[in-house]
Symmetry: C2
Subunit: 191 residues, 2 copies
Amino acid sequence: MAHIQLPEGLPGIRGPMAFSPETTKPLNLLVDQLLWSPDNTLSRGERELIATYVSSENDCQYCQAIHGAIASHCLGDDDWNLVRQVKDNPETAPISGNMKALLAIAGSVQKGGKHVSTDQIERAKTLGVTDKEIHDTVLIAAAFCMFNRYVDGLGTWMPDDPAMFRQRAALVAEHGYSAANPTPAFIPTPV
Amino acid sequence: MAHIQLPEGLPGIRGPMAFSPETTKPLNLLVDQLLWSPDNTLSRGERELIATYVSSENDCQYCQAIHGAIASHCLGDDDWNLVRQVKDNPETAPISGNMKALLAIAGSVQKGGKHVSTDQIERAKTLGVTDKEIHDTVLIAAAFCMFNRYVDGLGTWMPDDPAMFRQRAALVAEHGYSAANPTPAFIPTPV
């Protein structure tokens, strides 16, 4: 049972988001910009991998399940094997050197901002990673330290049916987060 | 020196915010809703105390300085003594029982969402703390686990002159965060 009375039937972050539409609007705008915006040299799948890895390090079951499913959807990782390998150890996963360098930075952000080292930054820059990619990685990792705590700090529940996550992943990948989590501000008024 | 090339002369979070206006807009909307909106049974000063305490636990010097200054401004704590006592130990600080219960929850969120215990929730509810107050406390604490990591994960700098923080605190307390950190979307186009 959640720590506060949340609307029934909504798993994970969707319960608190329905409870508090006024904070949900900026949270969805933020995650749309960070993970879904097409205007980024990191692909949607790569950004979702960063979110998934940080959620896994924070042991947030709901966030790593849904963002892992979205990453897999975007990357054509049908059996979720790539996501499992990244969560297990990014350094040995079959991803680019740039992504390994960025996931190392994300892993340090998860522990605390001061854990990011100049060596990690130099490693990334030597590979040609841009300042914007480093910025976005730090902010995605930081944002998931928020989302994970929001989900678990209120004691939300989650379903154990992978089909639900696959279905929802397809919805979010196509339409984005604001559209998939409508708040009153986003629901068109009936004419 | 920051880990990436940020606009010069802007301390703490203001450098990354100027670097990335598209993510700054939702971040300011979120913090305005959480800390500055008048529509809340927790006062602005109380909400700023939660932000300050979490920032202190995360050892983020910039965030605890600016939000501590705003809390002090809102609470008439001219010598910053109350803020110091809260950062030192909320249980012995001269604040309400409700605030002590909420800061205990915030302290657990800072460690990780699963650290929030049913005993902490029951303590708060027994005192008459509402579900919305618990929700907002969890999200404020979670959000500052993001902001603190954003500030420190990019290696930003901070000034050491307390007068700067007092001056900025007065500005934010009066006008809110979006107005104090204008992004291109918020700057009126010259006619």
